[in-house]
């Protein structure tokens, strides 16, 4: 079975702590690891995926048994990990298990944050590096391309990357549900803090037009405002400025309330009831709980946002289940293709195709020639078959001869020339 020639050795955030992973990471675009890997016995194709959460070595080998034994020393060779711990930190997949594994990785089903989109880009990068170093052949190329398309399928057919799983993104998502388009909206930051700044940054990428920074100390406000190209104001200006603000993010260290219901109520009339989205990520809270009772005011505190994130995470897990089913289905399809990549099935497929063409063409000719005697008909059939066989003879011989060179490469070439696979990937 050709599928068994595929081996993946890897460590990820689940099997190894960061202290181990950082020793194993392949950094920079050195060609050295590729040449070392290709030098291992049996290896014909290889690819290295190295991110902060995982290191995966994907190889195609003509002697998988031997290669598998050499891979761990290769990966751990430069680290301080001793031989006995290799197995504890790493996993080795072969055949269909390896196919499933790579499909899951690409589709972000194996990620720390399920559904995060970066991994696919990293995988594509890894494939490119491997191709640049001439380490990819017919099998690995198709395998990796397939993993890209599986990832795309999982993304479009499930809602795995759908909803926000961080506090700041959840805030942006809520803002979009309230305001629709965020363009021409104004956000006010009260106080400073990492989370507030992060949320403001997300809002700016969504097209927010203006940022106002309010701080007890005016200098700090000016400093932060400069970063966002916004305006600065002191705490006393907060309420007067509120008339033109749509989203307010508060994260001061104040122990008492910064904004009370009585302050905002008159402002809502001036605003002609345009909605106001208040986000309170300070502990203790900055904003009056009763604000949420005002019409068209929406107040979310840190617990509310955490709750949203939790719901979204649960939703992603559910969607991941659907993603897993797609992976299983695609693994089967890919294994089938690999089976066809043997010599005999390829010859069979080739002959079947030729036969079908012969039969169709003979039938058409016989239809055009009326009063064809059965004998003449037989001769035509024979001739067509003979032509087809003669034409196929050389490609078949080419496939069968054991010249040096990749067998998979040859088969893939023939299959592509005669378009024997339904979906060209």
């Amino acid at each position: 079975m050709l599928a068994d020639n595929i081996i993946i050795l890897g460590v990820n955030h689940k099997t190894a702590p960061v202290g181990i992973r950082e020793q194993l990471a392949f950094t920079g675009d050195s060609a050295l690891p590729f040449s070392e890997l290709m030098a291992l016995e049996g290896v014909t194709e290889c690819c290295i995926l190295s991110t902060c959460n995982r290191v995966e070595i994907i190889v195609v080998s003509r002697d998988p048994g031997k290669t598998a034994r050499l891979l761990r020393p290769f990966l751990f060779g430069k680290s301080a990990v001793n031989d006995r711990e290799f197995e504890k930190y790493s996993y080795l997949h072969q055949g269909e298990a390896a196919i499933t594994h790579l499909f899951r990785v690409g589709a972000s089903l194996d990620s720390m944050i399920v559904g995060e989109p970066q991994i696919l880009g990293q995988l594509k990068q890894a494939f490119k590096a491997s191709a640049d170093n001439n380490c990819t052949g017919a099998i690995l190329t198709r395998f990796l391309h397939k993993s890209f398309s599986v990832a795309k399928r999982v993304r479009t057919e499930t809602n795995i990357g759908g909803s926000a799983v961080s506090i700041s993104y959840a805030a942006v998502e809520l803002a979009k549900k309230i305001f629709g388009d965020l363009q021409d909206k104004t956000v006010m930051l009260v106080g400073a803090g990492e989370m507030a700044e992060l949320a403001a940054e997300h809002l700016i990428t969504q097209g927010i037009s203006q940022v106002i920074v309010v701080n007890r100390t005016f200098e700090n406000a000016v400093k932060l405002a400069r970063r966002f190209n916004g305006k600065a104001a002191g705490l006393d200006d907060l309420v007067p400025l509120l008339e033109n603000v749509d989203i307010l993010i508060s994260s001061t260290g104040a122990t008492d309330l910064v904004l009370k219901q009585e302050d905002v109520k008159p402002v809502m009339n001036q605003r002609m009831n345009r909605p106001l989205f208040l986000i309170d990520i300070a502990v203790p809270r900055d904003l009056d709980e009763k604000l949420n009772k005002l019409d068209n005011v929406y107040l979310y505190d840190i617990d509310d946002l955490t709750h949203v994130v939790d719901i979204n995470k649960a939703e992603r897990d559910k969607e991941a289940g659907r993603g897993e089913r797609i992976v299983v289905e695609e693994t089967m399809k890919f294994a089938q293709w690999l089976e066809g990549m043997e010599v005999t099935p390829t010859i069979v497929a080739l002959r079947q195709k030729a036969d079908a063409i012969c039969r169709a063409e003979v039938a058409r000719t016989a239809g055009n020639l009326k009063d064809l005697s059965p004998k003449a008909q037989k001769s035509i059939e024979k001739m067509a078959g003979a032509i087809a066989n003669k034409l196929l003879h050389d490609p078949i011989t080419y496939m069968k001869t054991d010249q040096p060179g990749d067998k998979g490469e040859k088969l893939a070439l023939i299959r592509r020339l005669f378009s024997l696979d339904d979906d060209p990937a």
Binding site: K176, G180, D295
Partner: protein, 262 residues
């Protein structure tokens, strides 16, 4: 002819069921099915109304069955014309039950074309008046659906409990815009409907306005909507209050429509 009505009726019901199923499981194939079903029903319904017009010899709005069927038709075409202009996520899910509800009442009412219209009332102004007035109802019905969607979505955002609607309904802004569009298309048409009705009345009876219950109710409905428009565009009664107002206004309009068709 009865058969055509029944077929249209069944199509509307199937479309509603399909839309509701789609709303829960979000299967896009079902939505496509529902969309084509809606179009089929709209065309069948239009043909039915035209046949009825030819048979009766006058615009079919003289019985409860006819009026409700005609207004369901107006909502359907109002919706389709809206959809052609701009899209509101899952709008069909809320519009189709309303159409079906109108059709159910229409189906339960007597369907015979018995009543003869007084020759004096048979003028070209009748179809113009009826068409415009019911189209106005169609757009106000859309605003009504938008209002319901707004309140459902708003409740989930306000209470921070994200259930069935949060992810499936569009943003509050989009729903408020729907409210505005429905009003700004519906109200002028309604005004025009009343004016054409006056002309028709003048031709038939010699007086523009007779203060009969039908006319009085229509005037009150018009005043209600005029008030809504005024509050919305000058005092900033937008969003939540606007949503409540259009729901109230449409309920009032429905009662008027029902009472006026006697």
């Amino acid at each position: 002819m009865k058969l055509l009505f029944q077929l249209t009726f069944i199509t509307y019901i199937s479309v509603t069921v399909a839309y509701l199923v789609y709303f829960v499981n979000q299967n896009k194939r079902i939505r496509t099915l529902a969309r084509y079903g809606m179009l089929t029903a709209a065309v069948g319904h239009l043909i039915y109304t035209m046949i009825r017009y030819l048979e009766a010899g006058h615009t079919p709005i003289t019985s409860i069955h006819e009026t409700l069927s005609f207004s369901a038709l107006a909502v359907t075409w109002g919706y389709l014309s809206f959809r052609w202009r701009y899209r509101v996520k899952n709008f069909g899910v809320f519009v189709s039950p309303l159409i079906t509800a109108l059709m159910i009442v229409a189906a339960l009412a007597a369907q015979e074309t018995t009543r003869e219209l007084a020759p004096a009332l048979q003028s070209v102004w009748l179809p113009i008046h009826a068409g415009i007035a019911l189209l106005a109802y169609g757009f106000l019905a859309l605003a009504f659906c938008g209002g319901i969607m707004y309140l459902l979505q708003e409740r989930e955002i306000k209470n921070k409990s994200f259930g069935l609607f949060y992810s499936r309904l569009p943003s509050l802004e989009a729903l408020d815009r729907l409210n505005r569009h429905g009003l700004s298309a519906g109200f002028p048409l309604m005004t025009l409907g009343i004016i054409t009705g006056m002309i028709w009345s003048k031709q038939g009876t010699g007086a523009y306005w007779q203060w009969d219950p039908k006319e009085t109710l229509s005037l009150i409905t018009w005043l209600v909507y005029a008030a809504i428009i005024h509050q919305r565009f000058t005092l900033g009664w937008r969003r939540r209050r606007a949503a409540i107002m259009v729901i109230f206004g449409f309920c009032f309009a429905l009662v008027t429509l029902y009472l006026a068709s006697y």
